[in-house]
Assembly symmetry: C2
Amino acid sequence: MPKRKSITLKEVAAEAGVSLGMASRVLAGYGSFSEKSRVSVLAAADKLSYRANGVARSLRLRRTNTIGVLISQISSYHWTTFVQGVEESAKRAGYGVVLSNTGDDPVREMDYLRDMRERGIDGIIASPLDRNLRAFRQASDSGFPMVTVNVNIGSERAAVVATDEGRAGADAVAHLDALGHRRIGLVAGDMELESGRLRLESYRVGLEEAGLEFDEDLVVHGNYRHDEAYEAALRLILLPQPPTAMLVCNESMTGAVLQCLRDHGVSIPSDMSLVGFDDPDWAKFYAPAITTLREERYYMGKLACDALLAEIEQNGPPQATVLVTLRTRLVVRQSCASPRATKSLSWRLPATTPPEHEVPTFS
Amino acid sequence: MPKRKSITLKEVAAEAGVSLGMASRVLAGYGSFSEKSRVSVLAAADKLSYRANGVARSLRLRRTNTIGVLISQISSYHWTTFVQGVEESAKRAGYGVVLSNTGDDPVREMDYLRDMRERGIDGIIASPLDRNLRAFRQASDSGFPMVTVNVNIGSERAAVVATDEGRAGADAVAHLDALGHRRIGLVAGDMELESGRLRLESYRVGLEEAGLEFDEDLVVHGNYRHDEAYEAALRLILLPQPPTAMLVCNESMTGAVLQCLRDHGVSIPSDMSLVGFDDPDWAKFYAPAITTLREERYYMGKLACDALLAEIEQNGPPQATVLVTLRTRLVVRQSCASPRATKSLSWRLPATTPPEHEVPTFS
DNA sequence: CTTGTTTGATATAACGATATACGTTGACCG
DNA sequence: CGGTCAACGTATATCGTTATATCAAACAAG
């Protein structure tokens, strides 16, 4: 048995002694009907514990009351809080949320876009990868409601919710500069992603504003990945003239950098100051608490969802592009201090404890 | 315009010069058809860039190829990894995943259960709250495919994927006992949740096996909440005779406890040993790295999904209850040491830095 | 040359809800 | 008392697929 048959509106109508259409009217609440039929339909529905078939309704209404969210990794703090915001807004409006992880894989991303359209999803929230910009733009132009996050696909109809990544890194650099740092390292993110490029750019802006020179050696690439960031941080601290402070471009890499510094006996903030992008829960209970660049991800999620629902539910012509920019703010904690006058070289020794590598237990 | 009209199968058939049914056959790949019509249908579909309407298909097939996952909080590491496992398995089988956060609110949980059934979801994975056990059992009995996680609803048809919480805490206690600890505190979870009760119970089992007495004073309740756990930990360290080690029942509370200890100058592991349930990423880069009880959540997610899909796709009579139990394992890191012979009282002073409280910026 | 069998194609009945077009009934007014 | 207009119901088309029953043609066997 593929599926147990469930109660249909027809049966409710029969039980109530009215026509199918009447029952629909009462339950969906449109048109006019007498008190008498209202009562009998409701009673019948209750008695049979009728449950409307959403699929049939969706077919008829050409609307599923569901939105899709395409994110890179559900495991990052960054996105979980975002999704919570989306869900909150969606639920309030009676919409469901379908979630898909792309893992920053362009093929998966396209798969999911197609899949969601076939499923009749009413609209999506996404941060398309460079390679897929055209496809997303095309989908948007063809009338598929869409809101993008920190990516502009250049469509007239797709709203964009963004953070001012152009400033964030600069704020951090200014903070470090004020403390007296002159050599500030950057553990950069993935240059194939818009956010990776913007974060690097904002670091350059910060240096310029502080009158500091951009030194290629102080920029290492972790590609937003934990393992690569560990190696990258190692390269920084082994430089002939290491930086006195570091700016790390996402949460996952910040963890790796902390691990690297701990493994090599570099203490924070006395030997090294550190500022991280994203503000995960652990940043505030870490010892010392980490100074971070906080984005209001939850609020961004709500905004993105609200914009999408507006786009979906508007009946008129497409509204103008909406671009909401949220300010990222620096949360100052205990991971930054003035650089030491006399540079200790004690921590430039090989690691005492090798880094712990995760061994996947299951395929 | 509620929705742009899209290409239907009818139009494809017309373009290809065959009947509607023929086009369906070719594209869905059943029945028999000539090479000629195969080619022309495929060409027409491609030319018009035909996209099947999943809603209509679902209505006809009485199946949406979508499963639902009801979790308490998407923000906990615990669940994000679980969901990743579910998604991996689901995608492989061609199923989509609808996710909903209940926030451990029984009303929301029921709302979502109803909502998902109306949406025609093919089955769900959930950990029903005590209050809703009956309703979930009823849904399962009535033929709604379901897999529960760490909760047994007592239905014949619902598979259960569980961890051996009955042993986990005991392993931790044994580890601490072996190091010489005699007073082991517990920051307990929510007693209204099955997992909360089981974790407390396994702690008792561990004490018993180690020949240690159960001391009510050493058990404080954090209810799985960050803020309550901070206070709870404080009560523990302010005891006339504080414990020399602590076992903390989930990730979020572990963070709070660490914060509390740091704020009050209690150092780990010299003043206090600590073992946490759940093994979030930060546990291994914390300084010192935290010893934890690790559950293979990703793998659990895959198992749960596979069990659910089997239940959904089986055509025969309901199969027997499947109960999969996974072993939790102790990951030993640097947060535990032997208790100090002479107890330092230095850390029994009031906090030097008040705990940082989060100030919500937006409603 | 008839009869049976295979093969390809078509027409059509679901699936379960919504919404419109169209009757019927009754109330109210002239 | 006949006519008009609400108010209320019903019958039915529609949404876009899938799958079955039917049909026609082609072909082989008797």
